[in-house]
Amino acid sequence: MNIGVVVFPGSNCDHDCQHVFRDVLGQDVTMVWHKETTLTGLDAVILPGGFSYGDYLRTGAIARFSPVMGAVKKYAADGGLVLGICNGFQILLEAGLLPGAMLRNQSLHFICNDVHVRVENAATPFTNACKPGQVLKIPIAHADGNYYTDPVTLAGLQANAQIVLRYCSPDGKVTSGANPNGSLDNIAGIRNAAGNVLGLMPHPERCAESVLGNDDGRLILSSVVEGIKKRPVGV
């Protein structure tokens, strides 16, 4: 399998993603420079975390106009798997591949901490290795992760099981106290209506090996590998 990791100017989790998919999960990885305009031969595309274009104007606002994003849009429209992590999630929102927008964290702080998230939908190509309701401990590292959308869109996300991960307490309770950034409905990760695009704020690539003391993130990234196997041929 060949996993594409897009590299924007200012991406800084691209090599972590490469390391986990290649060295931990044993897959081929292609680094895709943001000036590329085609994505051929890739089984999934990762938009990694970082500070693309210095977060100027708004997080993800400039990166979404990178040449590669035209190809990512087409790739997603054709049913390919697209995973956006942290800044990658912010780019997917700005690009309109996922609904909503990110506001500054309610505390105004950049938060770099382990948090707990509950798997609300385990029947996705990004969570199939998890059990429904499973609690994962994964770090977040962001200043703009306070997810917002209008009430109609939120109701749609809820009704269609598009909310895939929600911030929760260590024992799996979704409470305002467990919400690190003020995110609407404790949203940590959402998928699109078609189910082939996921954005999440936590960083699974930072906790995918037991030598690091936590390998919960491996469940998300190994789900992608399993998810590819279950895709219809040719997509």
């Binding site: 700005e94 909503g100 506001l103 309610q106």
Partner: protein
């Protein structure tokens, strides 16, 4: 022609920076300040003499890039 563009969070969307500034003003004794909203100010030169065309262009810039209309609103003046 010069365009002066203001982008702010929509009314009803919590502005934590505005709140922090409001609390700071309050603690400095400015008891009459309320509803602080923080935004961005941008100005740019636009090589277009026709005011209507320039306005259409600035509006398109705001819609496409300068503001995220899910959470922000914008206004501009042309001189």
């Amino acid at each position: 022609m010069k365009a002066k563009i203001h982008v702010t969070l929509k009314q009803g969307i919590l502005d934590p920076q505005g709140k922090a500034i409001e609390h700071a003003l309050d603690s400095l004794g400015f008891k009459h300040a309320a509803n602080v909203r923080v935004g961005k100010y941008m100005e740019l030169d636009i090589a277009e003499q026709d005011k209507a065309k320039a306005e259409a262009e600035v509006k398109a810039m705001c819609e496409k890039l300068l503001a995220n209309t899910i959470i922000e609103e914008y206004r501009y003046e042309l001189q």
